[in-house]
Amino acid sequence: MKNSLIIAAREFLERFRSRSFNVMLVLGPLLILAFIYGYIQSKNQGVLSMRVLVADPTGLMDNRIKPIGKEGLSYAFRQEYIDIERFKQGKEFQQYDALVEINEAIFSNKTVKVRYRQTPNVDLKVRMKFEIERRVEECLVSDTLGPQYVGVYSSIKQPLNFHFNDVNDLYNKAEQDVSWLGYSLGYVMIVFLIVFGTNIARSITREKANRISEVLLASVKPFELMMGKILGVLWSSLFQLFCWIVLVGLGLWIFQEVLLEDYFNGYLKGVQMSPEEWRQLGMGGYAQVNEGISLFYNQLNYGFLIPNFILFFLSTYWVYASFFTIIGALSGDDADGQQFILPIWLLFGLSIYAGYNATLYPDSAWTSFFAIFPWTSGMVSMVKVTMGVSLSSYLLMLISWSVSMVVGAMMLVLAGRVFKNGILSYSHKLTLSLLFKWLKR
C-alpha cells in the first residue's frame, strides 16, 4: 500500500504540474459561472408591458390597484371567477396578457396565481407582486382595523406567494429547472470521468511505450502499481473538483455582492422605494421572481448536494476506472487504446441517456433500472439528489452506491489480471481472445 501511495503522489504531481490541468482548474469554474450568469440574465427576458385582468369575485380589490410605476402595467377587474380555459379561448379576454386570481382563500393560503400568455419581464413580475400585495393589505386592514393600521400590519405580515405560470403550461413542466440542473451536474460528472479515466489509460500506455513499467515492477507488485495510478488520478480529479466547488461558490458570492447586487438588495426600475417597502416585497424580491436566482440561491441545498455529488462521483469513478485500466494495459500502442475507448463511450452515452430519462420520467421502471445499474447509477442519483429525495429513496440510492462499489471492486480484480499480463507486453496485436486469456490468468 505504501508503494501505491508513492505512485499515487507522483501521478497527482504530474497532473498538478501540467499546464492543461491548471488551465482547466480556472477555466472550468469560469465557464460554469458564465453559464450561471447567462442563465440568470436569460430569465430577465420577457415582455415589458402587460394588461392584467384581475378576477376578483369577492370584490376585495374594489376595482383599484395603485400603480407604483408609470409604464408597463395596467389592470382591469372582473368580479367573477374566470376559468383558465375561458381566459385562454374567450374572445373578450384576448386583449389581456395575464390573469390574476384573487379569491377569498387568499387570507388562508397566501397564494396568488398569475397566468400569463407571454412570460413577463422580471421587473413586471416584481411590480405586479408589490402592487397587488399592497392593495390586498390596504383592503384587508383598512376595512377591518382602519387605515391607520396599514403600516403596522405591513411590518408584521407574511408576504404572499405569487405563482407565475404560462397559461399553456400550468404545471411548469417545461421548467423543471432543478432536475435539469441535476442532469447538468451528472453531465459534469461524466465529463470528469472521461477526462480523468482517459488519463489512467494514457498513463499506462505511455509507461509501456517508454518502457519504465519494468523498472517499476521490480519494486512494486502490478496490483500496487495499478492502484497507485487509479488513486493518483482520483486525487487529482477530487482536487480539481474541490477547486471548482470553491471557485464557483466564490463566484456565486461575488455575483450576489457585485454583479447581481440589484437583484438581492432591492431596486425597482423607475420606482422610488424605501428599504422598508422593499423589505415588504418579501424575501429577496427579484431573487424570488427570477427563476435563475431562485434556482441557484434559494432552491438548491448545497449542503446536501455537494457531499452527494462527491459520493456518487467516487462510486462512478471506481466502476469506470477498472475499464480504463484494462484498456491501458491491453493496448500495444496508442492506436489500440483509441479503438477500445469506443465501448466506454457507449456506456457514457447510456449514462447520459439515463440522466435524461430520469429528468423526464423520474419514477419510471427504466429510471429504477438505471438507478441500480452501476454504470448509470451515478448519473441518475445526481438528478434525483438535486430534485430532492425522500429518506426511503435516499436509502435506495445508498444501496445502489454500495452495489457500484462492490461491482467496481470486482472489476478491479479483473483489471488487475489484465494489467499484470499486459503491462510487459509491447507491440502485440490486440485481440479479444488475448483479452480473455489474460482475464483467466
Partner: protein, 307 residues
Amino acid sequence: MIELVDIQKSFQNKLALDGVSFTIPKGKVFGLIGPNGAGKTTLIRILNQILSPSSGSVMVQGMPLTASHVRSFGYLPEERGLYREMTVKNHLIFLAKLRGLSGKEAQANVIHWLKKFGISDWENKRIDALSKGMAQKIQFIAAVVHGPEVIILDEPLSGFDPLNIQLILDEIKTFVQQDKTVVFSTHNMQSVDELCDEVALIHQGKLLANDKVADLRSKHRNGDYKIRFRGNAVAFANALWTGFEIIETKELSENYREAVIRKRADQSFNDVFTFLSGSLSLELIEEQIPSMQDVFVKLIAAHHHEE
C-alpha cells in the same frame, strides 16, 4: 548465494526456460550469457519476481525468494525507461522510495550518486533535456541508488559509449570489492572476460554451461600455441615434425615470423620448446586460451550440431 532450482517457464505454448538450475555465488560477478531470445531476460524477470516460474524455485541463502529479498535487489532492465517530464533528482528519489528508502535517505543517496558520476549540476534538469549518455547514467544510478546487496544488470552496456562503458565496468568492480553480488547479462563477451567470475550460458531456454570463466576457457583449449621466432620458415616446419599442425604463419619482417600451431596427440608445452629451440631463435611461446567469445560460439555451434 542465490540458487535457481529447475526453473521452467512457458508462455502460452512456448517453453521459454526448460529446467534451468545454477547457483549465483555471493560477492562475485555472475555472467548470464546467451544469444538473443535464449531466455536470459525471462530468467532475470523471475529473479525480480516480475514473472513467476511455471515450476521450480529461487532460493536466497537457503530461503525461498520473497518480496523483501527483491526489494533489496537493484535492477537495471534491458527495456529501461524514465519519466521524461520529471527532474533528475525527483525521478531518482521517487524510485529510491519505491525501494523502501525514507525521503531523507533517498535524497542523501541521490546526491551522493549524482556527485560520484559528476552530474550534480543536472539534478534539477528535466529528463527530456538529457543526452542519451546522461540518461543512461541516470538509469544506472536508479538501479543502485538504494545500496542493494544484489545488483542485476540486464545488458547494462548496450547503447553506452566507450566512456560510459568504462564507468559502469569500474562501478561493477567496486561493488564486488564491497562483497556485493552482481548478476550481469550481456552479449559483450569482452566484458565477460574482463569482469565475470562465473557464467551461465543459456540457449533456447536450456542451460548449456555453468562454470567459472577461467575453467570454462581452460576446458575449451584447442592446444594452440602462438610462437614468435627468428629463422627460416622451412626450418620451422621441419622442426615441428609431425607432432604439431601449423594453423597460420605471418612474416613480421625478414626472417622474423609469428605462427600459430596446434598440437596433435599428447604433445605438451615442453615438447614445443624442445622441438623448436635447437633450430630457431625463439622469442615467444604462448598457449592460446580461447576467449569467452570463442567458447560461446563453440558451445552454441556444438549444441546445434547435436540437434
